[in-house]
């Protein structure tokens, strides 16, 4: 194709990006964000698919079959766990105002400046070749498209350089705009999301063209491929030579990469507008990866079938296929897709690296300076703020220059196929420190530093050194004989470990030393107070607001204007005032209590902002420790946590967190947690006790009611005879002339009623005695037959009066029964007189008393043929005053206490009493009395009947 046309389209496309980014920034300024939605968020994550994915996947698939998919399947497998891991990282970063992976690791391990610098160094060394790979992709695709055959120096460097330059301008304009790194770059995000769409559509279009245009669909394509033995063996892992270890390594590497690559951290964490956007991104992003990979194998096989043996590099199939079939416009579109894949990666990666380099390599050095010159401090800060921004812009240029230099210097000779994966392995060295930092409070700065250093060293030795072998560089003997001829120092088989593929071997050894160093040293050396606090803040970010965060390291008497000046220098007037106002709203007491002047400088902003800012009121107010912590966080969002801490130390004196203080508070929070658990437990116990108490109370109420009823009945029963006695006595007193016979009758009645009264009272006393458990038995072995006959004689008179026949059938041969004779008599008389009373008038009554032995007991039965007892009442008849309570009955005959007392006496003998009856069928009262006195013969206490 015409070179000029291709160049025009390339720059036209880049100009479109500028336009889109500009529009997004305008919309963002007008608070009508185009970016704050989950779809753009998920699409921007697709910056994961670089030119390496776009061109390289096909190349890899053409030679190794399915194994390329591991790089995209890994993120898919990790995505469900994002809900736990990525959400936690986002939450921590938002709370701590962290903006890069270096910030994250540095802040977690005691805001260490050296650790931040180390992480930045690893990122730059690991990622710059990866950026170079993108530049190479742009250059070589340009050459292929314009028909240059092999990418030679003259034709390729020009466009590559121009593209790099254009991207640098774009990145500086839209990516490094404000000194506050926490600020989201809406323009960049929208541009990246758009590029993700372009590369997806272009690749799908090409895939559809190859599959359905050049071939007759998937089946036809695979049929043709199956006919070629070389392609046929790519249908399986076995045939393609991909081992299980290599496949697993690819998955694990890509999982860690999608979390830790600087550009992924930038789009997924820093540019995240709302944690809830994760919900959609968790399945949209893997879906994107799946869709963009569907046509990779068809294109690879199509390329091998159509172009195989014609000297084409498989990496260029994506362009060569449409070109060879005469569809140059399709090739141009595909080229633009590749350009978008490369450029979006370069832009985002460069932004992330530039912020890291500025904040972790340069700033920690610069902020140490002002301590020496306190008078010019404020101007120095304002200067530093500008330096921070400028240094980032310079870092963008530096990164791109490094990448371009790498490409121009070594990249064109070196095979770059593995660069992406080696880059993945470099950032994978952060995984132990990051995951450990999120879930393990024991990880320390020393451990993390050693782990990353050791991992990085092994990474370099096992994965980078082999790529440096070649004419004019390292001799081949390094690979075969080891460094210095030492057999155990072979980069491909460290310590003699061979049998693993290149990547698995490198990842295994680097992680082995990394994790070993990290965990080992963390355990060996106790953390500092600051590390302890940060560990608590990170690990427990989802729990209650960490107590540890409240430990203000900054104490003492820092003048408030100094803090203001510090913020003004870095954030500018507007932002400083905003931030202070937000702080005042959150902690009203921190500022207002201190002094009215500060409040004064807060409010008149609407009237005269300039005045309040430029001439802070001459006060001797000191800043609240909370304000210092807040200021530190604000600055951390600008300069990174380590620099922010150093900077604040320059105005507030060294941050002093006493070890005891931190340990004490952490312990306290542990104790609080424990106390909370204990409280919960006690609350449950209390609840149970309350329930029991309520039940007891209810029971008591019932008993109380029963007692009231009992008393009522008793008084009622007592009053009846009393009333008649009194009435008769009055008659006798008022009528002295009463006839003697009449008088005698009255006196007789009075004495009978008095007798009844006495009997009733003694019954009640008896009952009371039984129920209170005071009654005792005077037991002696006695013959039941004697007692029964005696009782029968006692009631014989009554029976005769009623015309009732009384039959006693108790054998004299029964074994002697240990019982209280008088009480037993009372029982029998009660039952017999009840039976006599139950006889129905007009029917000859028959009563029988039977007794027979049972197993170690005697059974006694009193049987009548009277009116019987309804089933429902059979339980109640043993209750006190049941007869009296029963309103349906005629005038009661008897006290209503007889059966209650009978039951008590039987129970006192450890016996049982029950009744079998039916209305008009007579009744049988059974008594079972034990023959042996049980060991616990003491007066039994029957709780259900106690008053």
């Amino acid at each position: 194709m015409n070179k000029l046309l291709v160049i025009a389209f390339s720059f036209g496309y880049l100009a479109l990006l500028f336009g889109v980014a500009y529009a997004a920034e305008r919309r963002s300024a007008a608070r009508k964000s185009l970016v704050a939605n989950p779809y753009v968020y998920a699409l921007s994550m697709a910056v994961y698919c670089t030119a390496w994915a776009y061109y390289g996947s096909v190349g890899r698939a053409a030679h190794q079959g399915l194994s390329f998919v591991g790089i995209y399947l890994g993120p898919g497998l990790l995505a469900p766990a994002w809900w736990l891991v990525l959400r936690k990282i986002i939450r921590v970063c938002r709370q701590q105002r962290l903006t890069s992976i270096a910030d994250f690791i540095s802040a977690r391990y005691g805001k260490s400046a050296s650790l931040g610098a180390l992480v930045t160094g690893v990122c730059v060394l690991g990622v710059v070749p990866y950026i170079a790979l993108q530049i190479k992709a742009i250059a070589s695709s340009f050459v292929v498209l314009t028909g240059g055959g092999h990418p030679d120096v003259n034709s390729a460097t020009g466009p590559a350089l121009f593209t790099a330059g254009a991207l640098a301008v774009f990145t500086i304009l839209f990516g490094v705009r404000s000194v506050e790194a926490t600020e989201r770059h809406e323009g960049v995000v929208l541009a990246v999301a758009l590029e993700s769409l372009v590369k997806l559509l272009a690749f799908l279009l090409l895939g559809a063209f190859v599959t359905f245009g050049l071939f007759g669909g998937f089946a036809d394509l695979f049929d043709q491929a199956a006919a070629e033995p070389a392609l046929r063996q790519l249908f399986t892992f076995k045939g393609a030579g991909t081992s299980g270890a290599e496949w697993l390594t690819l998955l694990v590497l890509s999982m860690s990469a999608v979390l830790l690559l600087p550009r992924q951290f930038q789009v997924a964490v820093v540019e995240n507008a709302d944690e809830n956007h994760l919900r959609k991104a968790m399945w949209l992003f893997p879906l994107y990866l799946l869709v963009i990979n569907i046509f990779v194998l068809p294109i690879a096989f199509g390329g091998m079938l159509k172009l195989g043996g014609r000297g084409y590099d498989a990496d260029t199939f994506v362009l060569a296929l449409p070109l060879a079939s005469g569809h140059s416009w399709l090739a141009l579109l595909t080229y633009l897709g590749g350009l978008s894949a490369a450029s979006s990666m370069i832009i985002v990666e460069t932004i992330a690296l530039s912020v890291m380099m500025g904040n972790h390599l340069l700033m920690p050095l610069l902020v140490r300076v002002p301590a020496a010159r306190p008078e010019g401090q404020r101007r120095w800060f304002a200067y530093l703020g500008r330096i921070a921004l400028t240094s980032r812009r310079l870092a963008v240029l530096l990164v791109l220059a490094l990448a371009y230099g790498y490409y121009a210097g070594v990249g064109r000779q070196l095979p770059l196929v593995n660069t992406g994966l080696v880059s993945f392995a470099a950032v994978a060295q952060f995984l132990p420190a990051v995951l450990g930092g999120l879930y393990w409070k024991g990880g320390t700065r020393r451990g993390a530093t050693l782990g990353i250093l050791a991992g990085f060293a092994v990474w370099f030795f096992t994965l980078v050194v082999p790529t440096l072998v070649g004419p004019g560089r390292l001799p081949v003997s390094v690979l075969s004989d080891g460094v210095g001829g030492l057999g155990w120092l072979r980069p491909g088989a460290l310590f003699g470990l061979d049998g693993l593929d290149y990547l698995s071997h490198g990842l295994f050894w680097s992680w082995f030393f990394n994790i070993g160093g990290y965990v080992g040293l963390s355990l060996a050396w106790p953390p500092s107070a600051l590390e302890l606090r940060q560990a608590d803040v990170f690990v427990d970010v989802f729990r209650r607001r960490s107590l540890a965060e409240e430990i203000a390291g900054w104490q003492g008497r820092t003048p408030l204007p100094d803090v203001r000046a510090l913020l003004l220098g870095f954030l500018g007037k507007k932002r400083t005032n905003q931030a202070l106002r937000a702080f005042a709203e959150r902690f009203p007491d921190a500022l207002s209590m201190n002094n009215a002047q500060v409040a004064g400088s807060r409010y008149p902003e609407s009237v005269g902002e300039e005045k309040s800012v430029d001439s802070p009121p001459p006060s001797f107010a000191t800043a609240d420790p909370r304000l210092l912590t807040y200021a530190e966080k604000l600055l951390a969002g600008t300069l990174g946590p380590a620099s922010a801490r150093l900077l604040l130390a320059s105005v507030a004196g060294a941050e002093e967190i006493s070890y005891d203080n931190v340990v004490g508070i952490l312990k306290e929070s542990q104790q609080l947690l424990e106390a909370n658990r204990q409280l919960q437990k006690q609350r449950r116990q209390l609840q149970r006790l309350t329930d029991e108490l309520r039940q007891a109370y209810d029971q008591l109420q019932i008993l109380d009611m029963q007692k009231d009823e009992f008393l009522y009945t008793v008084t009622h029963e007592l009053r009846t005879p009393l009333t008649s006695i009194r009435a008769l006595a009055e008659i006798l007193a008022d009528n002295p002339e009463l006839e003697a016979e009449e008088r005698e009758r009255f006196q007789h009645t009075i004495s009978r009623e008095a007798e009844r009264l006495t009997r009733l009272i003694s019954l009640i006393l008896d009952l009371e005695k039984f129920e209170s458990g005071q009654a005792s038995l005077d037991r002696s072995p006695l013959a039941l037959a004697d007692v029964v006959h005696e009782a029968a004689e006692a009631v014989a008179q009554l029976a005769r009066a009623r015309g009732t026949e009384l039959r006693v059938d108790v054998p004299a041969s029964l074994p002697p029964l240990p019982a209280d004779r008088d009480r037993l008599m009372q029982v029998l008389i009660n039952l017999l007189s009840n039976a006599i009373k139950a006889t129905v008038p007009g029917r000859p009554g028959r009563i029988a008393v039977l007794a027979w032995p049972a197993a170690d007991a005697l059974l006694l039965c009193v049987e009548d043929n009277g009116k019987g007892i309804a089933l429902a009442e059979q339980h109640q008849i043993f209750d006190k005053f049941f007869q009296a309570q029963n309103q349906t009955m005629r005038k009661p005959e008897g006290s209503g206490l007889g059966l209650a007392i009978t039951k008590k006496i039987v129970e006192l003998h450890q016996g049982r009493i029950w009744v079998e009856s039916a209305p008009e069928q007579g009744a049988r009262f059974f008594i079972e009395l034990p023959l042996a006195v049980p060991a616990r013969a003491a007066a039994p206490f029957s709780p259900s009947f106690s008053l």
Binding site: L73, L77, P80, F222, G244, L248, M282, R543
Partner: protein
């Protein structure tokens, strides 16, 4: 729904279910299970291995989408 309300969501069923799905599919898409599909057979012209990986991946995405959906609130 603001995230404030789910302070301990890491311990809730949603997080655990998602983690389970991630682990399950990592096992499903690795050796030794993968070896069962690593043969030369083809279904509708497409190699079995390709089809298996693709379908398992799709199922994983569908499951994830189903598990993270918002409950009616």
């Amino acid at each position: 729904m603001r995230p404030k309300s789910n302070a301990t969501e890491a311990a809730t069923p949603r997080g655990q279910r998602l983690l389970f799905v991630a682990v399950l599919f990592t096992v499903l898409l690795n050796y030794p299970l993968l070896a069962a599909f690593d043969h030369n057979g083809r279904v509708a012209g497409v190699p079995v291995l390709y089809l298996y990986v693709l379908l398992a991946w799709l199922l994983l995405i569908a499951l994830t989408a189903w598990l993270v959906r918002k409950k009616e609130e």
